[in-house]
C-alpha cells in the first residue's frame, strides 16, 4: 500500500516545539522518533544527522529545513515534522531563520524500498511554494499529513 502512514503519523508531528536552536530542534524530533520506536539510539542517529549537515545546507528557504540522517540507529525509515515560534539559526539559501524542521530518518539497509520512495514523494511536495506557506501556519496535524502526501 502506497500510503504516507508508512512513514509519518500524528505522533511524529509537533506544532509547538520548544526548541530555541537547531540542535534542540533535531534533539526534540529525534525524541519523537525514539518514542515511536523508529530510532533505536538517539545519540548515534544525531551523529549521523550531523554527518549529513557537514556535507551541505539542509535549509530549503522559506523558513523550512530538511535535515536527514541515514543511520544504523534507524529502525524504520520515517519522518518527523516540527514547528516552532522561535526563529532557529540554520544554514539556508535565503539566509532566513528556520521555523519548520522536517527530519528524515533513513534506515541504512534501505535501498530500493517503498519507504524511500515515499520520502522522495514528500520531498517533491516540498517543491511547491504554496505548500511551504501552509506548513508554516496550519494548526491542523491532518493538514500537515495531507500537504506532505499530495504527490503520492
Amino acid at each position: 500500500m502506497v500510503d504516507i502512514a508508512n512513514i509519518l503519523n500524528e505522533n511524529l508531528i509537533q506544532l509547538n516545539m520548544q526548541a530555541r536552536t537547531k540542535e534542540e530542534a533535531i534533539q526534540e524530533l529525534t525524541e519523537c522518533l525514539y518514542k515511536e520506536g523508529y530510532v533505536s539510539n538517539p545519540t548515534v542517529f544525531i551523529q549521523d544527522v550531523y554527518l549529513r549537515e557537514s556535507e551541505g545546507k539542509t535549509g530549503l528557504g522559506q523558513h523550512i529545513a530538511i535535515p536527514h540522517g541515514k543511520s544504523d540507529a534507524v529502525q524504520v525509515t520515517s519522518i518527523a515534522f516540527g514547528r516552532t515560534e522561535n526563529k532557529l539559526a540554520w544554514e539556508t539559501p535565503d539566509d532566513e531563520p528556520v521555523q519548520v524542521v522536517i527530519l528524515f530518518a533513513v534506515r541504512n539497509a534501505d535501498t530500493a524500498t517503498l519507504h524511500l520512495k515515499l520520502l522522495a514523494q514528500v520531498a517533491m511536495a516540498l517543491a511547491d511554494d504554496d505548500t511551504l506557506a501552509r506548513l508554516l501556519v496550519t494548526k491542523d496535524k491532518s493538514e500537515v499529513i495531507r500537504l506532505l502526501s499530495q504527490r503520492m
Binding site: I66, H68, V106, D110, T113, A120, Q121, A123
Partner: protein, 103 residues
C-alpha cells in the same frame, strides 16, 4: 526549447527530488518541454530515453555528486549547477538556459 537533464544530491534522499520538481515547474512556466532523470538512493528513476536526449536543445545537470551516464550528452550544450541553485533559483536558472540555447 527542449531540455533534458539529471538531478542528484549527496545523500540522494531529498534534494534530488525537490530540484527535479522545481526545474519542471520553472520550465513549464516558461513554456519549455523538460525531461529530468533522478539518480538517488533508490537508483535511477525517470530515466531519459535516447529520443528525449536526441531531441534536446540543451542539457541541465543539477548535481552535487559524480553522475552516471554523462557521456549520453556528448556534443550537447550543457550547464552544470549544484542542486541548491535549481531549488532556490529555478526561474533564474531557466533564463540562463534560454541565453545559452541562443548562443
Amino acid at each position: 526549447m527542449k531540455i533534458v537533464g539529471i538531478t542528484a544530491c549527496v545523500a540522494g534522499i531529498a534534494h534530488t527530488y525537490i530540484a527535479r520538481e522545481k526545474l519542471i515547474k520553472a520550465a513549464e512556466k516558461a513554456g519549455h518541454a523538460i525531461h529530468l532523470e533522478t539518480q538517488g538512493t533508490i537508483g535511477t528513476e525517470y530515466e531519459l530515453t535516447g529520443e528525449q536526449i536526441a531531441e534536446a536543445d540543451l542539457v541541465v545537470l543539477a548535481v552535487d555528486i559524480k553522475i552516471k551516464g554523462k557521456e549520453r550528452f556528448a556534443g550537447k550544450k550543457m550547464i552544470e549547477v549544484p542542486t541548491e541553485v535549481a531549488i532556490h533559483s529555478s526561474n533564474a536558472l531557466l533564463k540562463k538556459l534560454e541565453e545559452i540555447a541562443k548562443k
